[in-house]
């Protein structure tokens, strides 16, 4: 065990040395000096070589890059903001060393204020502020790792996953979300780095939630994370990523891909709290395949970023499979949370539920985009969708775009949506009981979000509540 620690420390220590020296590919110093931004096959080749990937993965990357170039930008959604993305102005490869270390001074004021108010400890602040590349939680991390190892659970960063378990990765990578799926999935497939690889063996129950927080590597909270989770037959796992504290990143484009495979009788719950800083475009493709009698749950909280486009999807491919998505979006000043959920019923006797809660405040815009698709042979299907939106302030905006495509009549499909502002009667009731209007509004908002917060582990729920309080006070952004 001590060996592992040393090995880890060694790996991390090389972060600050010249990559060229360690990996020896052609003229990287020259490359850095030429300007490391922009995407092309050379960059993809370097990424793959640097990671020492097998040829099959390198080929996948190159093919995906061609697909990325061939696809147009989406014509739906916030095309104005999407149009602001300059693909040539992004680092897809390692940033030049000079830029790697940020100073605390560079971290935006509102982030620093939030850390203080949330009571985040110093070390964590450094990590979240992008100032240091590692989180000082090695001790916690390692005892966790031992427990998992005993159960046979694999929990690695994706790069290590590919290196140590190439057969498993090769079997499942890209089978749920192919590179052709959409432009951003293609980009991610070409330049992915970091993310989580989790494999839970048959019948194993990973009792404690696995948290992305505790993966230690330079690509943590990276721009193009690729996550692959396989829950083998009869296993159970809960994975949590993100955190309520805002995460600052100079990389303006974040495009992750998450693939989940819940094999027969398994259970996967994937919780995300996204609170990227307000300069970020967060375009994510997340999809799960649920097989016979399996259950997949997405618990998805969207608080940060300038623009988030994310529609967690569950494909119910095996009989008796079940899917549930619980989504919350908070759109504040200048934000657009374009979130939603998709469920595809292919097998009979499947059921799903989608609950979406959104809040738009100031000039924020929250959109719900959903798809319920029931294929021809999916008999005896039950789906229930509930979307509620709360508008606070004159400039707020809410959209709902649900689509239902039903090809089987032995189904029960129900969809309901409600949009309103904070009700005068409710406000009056609370203020007449001694609360200030701000306190009353906060209480109402918390009540509105309650179905979501009650699904979170306690420390997240507490932090989330505090964050909402700050948002409502207007002291953020």
């Amino acid at each position: 065990m001590a060996d592992t620690t040393r090995h880890q420390k060694q790996d991390l220590s090389t972060l600050n040395t010249d990559y060229a020296v360690k990996y020896g590919f052609r003229d990287p110093v020259d490359y850095f000096h030429k300007g490391a931004k922009g995407i092309n096959h050379e960059v993809v080749e370097m990424i793959s070589q640097m990671k020492k990937e097998p040829k099959w993965m390198r080929d996948i990357r190159h093919e995906a890059l061609d697909i990325f170039f061939s696809k147009p930008m989406p014509e739906w959604g916030n095309t104005k903001l999407l149009g602001e993305i300059d693909f040539d102005d992004i680092y897809y490869f390692m940033k030049p060393i000079e830029n790697q270390q940020q100073s605390w001074d560079d971290v935006p004021e509102y982030i620093k204020r939030t850390f203080d108010k949330l009571g985040i400890p110093e070390a964590e602040k450094n990590f979240l502020g992008g100032v240091s590349a590692q989180y000082e939680s090695e001790v916690v991390y390692h005892s966790l790792k031992e427990e998992l190892r005993q159960q046979g659970i694999l929990f690695l960063d994706m790069d290590s996953g590919l290196r140590e378990q190439p057969e498993i990765v090769r079997k499942y990578f890209g089978t749920v979300i192919p590179a052709t799926d959409n432009k951003f999935a293609a980009l991610n497939t070409a330049v992915w780095s970091g993310g989580s690889f989790i494999y839970v063996p048959p019948g194993v129950d990973a009792k404690i939630p696995l948290q992305a927080y505790f993966r230690i590597n330079a690509e943590n909270m990276g721009q193009f994370e690729r996550t692959l989770i396989i829950a083998d037959k009869g296993s159970r796992v809960h994975y949590i990523e993100g955190c309520t504290a805002p995460i600052y990143s100079t990389d303006s484009l974040h495009s992750a891909v998450v693939e989940l495979l819940a094999l027969d009788d398994s259970y996967i719950r994937y919780t995300t709290i996204q609170n990227w800083s307000r300069n970020i475009y967060n375009l994510v493709t997340k999809r799960a395949s649920a097989y016979k009698n399996a259950t997949v749950e997405w618990v998805d909280g969207n608080l940060g970023s300038r623009l988030t486009m994310k529609y967690p999807c569950i494909q119910l491919l095996g009989e008796g499979a079940r899917g549930e998505t619980l989504s919350v979006a908070f759109a504040g000043v200048d934000q657009h949370q374009d979130a939603g959920a998709k469920v595809i019923h292919v097998a009979p006797n499947t059921s799903s539920r989608i609950t979406s809660k959104s809040i738009s405040k100031d000039n924020g815009r929250a959109s719900y985009r959903g798809l319920v698709k029931v294929h021809k042979n999916a008999v005896n299907v039950k789906v229930s969708v509930q979307c509620d939106a709360l508008l606070i302030g004159e400039e707020a905006r809410s959209d709902t775009y649900p689509t239902m495509e039903i090809d089987n009549e032995q189904v029960k499909i129900e969809h309901e949506a409600r949009v309103s502002k904070v009700a005068e009667e409710q406000l009056f009731y609370l203020t007449s009981r001694g609360l200030t209007e701000d306190e009353a509004r906060l209480l109402i908002v918390n009540g509105f979000m309650e179905p979501f917060t009650k699904e979170l582990p306690l420390e997240y729920a507490v932090e989330l509540n505090r964050l909402i309080e700050l948002e409502m006070e207007g002291s953020i952004g």
């Binding site: 939106a389 400039e395 959209d399 709902t400 775009y401 649900p402 239902m404 039903i406 969809h415 949009v419």
Partner: protein
């Protein structure tokens, strides 16, 4: 689309020729508008699939080659229907009757009394000359080339249409019935309707579309219709659109109503006929306190394909809209429904409700529903709901166990489903609508 074995006259490459005779119809100002519409049609691309207005319907199927179709004679059923309506007129149940044969021949019955009050019911070809001052400000304002490629097609090629004008403070007590009859196989018609109801006036219109080809093998028939309605301040309009065309007819219709302050509109959409029936109904609430209520009933059987889009656009404060759209499908019928409620930033204190219920009677039916909301003002009360499911087997069992044959039992359960809508329709219209519904239900 290159299939010479095809019995439809669709031509995805079709362009309106420069010297098409329709372009010369009417006074100079109208000819200019037609020409502009022709140019817009010829230069605009086909709507892309994948964008949801055209997600489920192939736009190629409406690209009828005007040169390859005829203005054919009307169907045998027409005479019988016309007789029935003339009788209604005689018995005082209608204020007037207008028949429109494929846009070639417009006849009016019983409208003289209305004319005495200054209420105009004429053909558009007459109105664009004689009543230019009333028509020109309104024609093409709501449904035009900017609306879409197929609206541009109608804008260029409509032959003759109907114009109704109700001056201030008048009330047309009984419904005005418009009987539009499509030609038989390989025919194409481009009906157009313009209604202007001035301040404080009332009007009820039943806009019935019948006819069409009976034999797919002999050739389909087409209709591309435009309806524009202007409700001035305080007006009350009730518009019933009845589509009961034949089973070998592709029909496209765009309807837009603009409602000013305190105006109130009731729109009833009865989509019963046609093979491919695409309709787009919209109400723009442009003045405070305006109100729009829409009730829709779609009955699909055989291979019918319905694609219905509704728009309730709140562009002013304190407006109210409500849609209740019910769909019943059997055999291999298919329905796509897209409903958008849009509330502009300056539209405070609005209420908008929408409900879409789909009843699928057997395996092989398909339903799509996309109820959408775009809300830019927080002071709103808005909700929508949609359900899709089969007929309740218990309800049918209950009836058939009392000796009622299965098909009749199904019809009764469907009738009960539909009755919820009929109950909300004004008393004086309900019986008429129930007749239309029952006629259709017999074939369900």
């Amino acid at each position: 689309m290159d299939n010479d074995m095809n019995t439809d006259n669709a031509n995805s490459e079709y362009k309106i020729p420069d010297m098409a005779p329709e372009l010369m119809r009417g006074p100079q100002w109208l000819q200019e508008k037609r020409t502009l519409a022709r140019d817009a049609f010829n230069s605009s691309p086909l709507p892309r699939r994948g964008l949801h207005l055209w997600r489920y319907t192939d736009p190629n199927r409406f690209m009828v080659d005007r040169a390859s179709v005829v203005d054919s004679a009307y169907t045998e059923d027409y005479d019988a229907v016309e007789k029935v309506e003339l009788r209604h007129l005689e018995q005082g149940r209608l204020s007037g009757l207008v028949t429109d044969l494929g846009g070639r021949e417009i006849n009016r019955y019983g409208v003289e009394k209305l004319a005495e009050q200054g209420i105009l019911v004429t053909s558009l070809s007459e109105a664009v000359g004689k009543y230019k001052v009333l028509v020109e400000p309104y024609l093409y304002r709501l449904v035009n080339s900017a609306t879409g490629k197929f609206e541009a097609l109608n804008g260029a090629l409509w032959n003759d249409g109907i114009f109704i004008y109700v001056p201030r403070g008048k009330s047309v007590a009984k419904p005005l019935h418009l009987l539009r009859e499509a030609g038989r196989e390989n025919s194409a018609q481009f009906p157009r309707l313009l209604i202007v109801v001035d301040q404080g006036s009332e009007l009820t219109v039943i806009d019935e579309y019948g006819g069409g080809s009976h034999k797919m093998e002999k050739g389909l028939s087409y209709a591309n219709s435009a309806v524009e309605i202007f409700g001035m301040a305080g007006s009350r309009i009730r518009y019933v659109n009845l589509q009961r065309q034949t089973s070998a007819m592709n029909s496209y219709l765009t309807h837009r109503a603009m409602l000013e302050r305190d105006a109130n509109m009731l729109t009833i959409i009865l989509a019963f006929g046609g093979l491919l029936n695409k309709q787009n109904f919209g109400a723009i609430l442009s003045g405070q306190n305006a109100e729009s209520n829409m009730f829709g009933l779609t009955f699909g059987s055989g291979h019918q394909h319905f694609d219905c889009h509704t728009l309730q656009h709140h562009a002013a404060g304190q407006t109210l809209s409500n849609i209740d759209h019910k769909v019943v499908l059997r055999d291999k019928a298919r329905s796509a429904y897209t409903g958008l409620i849009k509330i502009e930033k300056n539209a405070r204190t609005c209420e908008a409700y929408q409900e879409n219920r789909n009843l699928l009677l057997n395996k092989g039916t398909r339903a799509e529903t996309i109820p959408e909301l775009e809300i830019l003002n927080e002071d709103v009360r808005c909700s929508h709901g949609a359900t899709i499911g089969p007929i309740d087997p218990m309800e049918v069992f209950y009836l058939s166990s009392r000796g009622i044959p299965y098909d009749d039992a199904v019809r009764m359960v469907v009738g009960g489903f539909v009755e919820k809508t009929l109950k909300q329709v004004p008393d004086d219209l309900r019986e008429r609508l129930r007749q239309f519904v029952n006629t259709r239900l017999e074939k369900i």
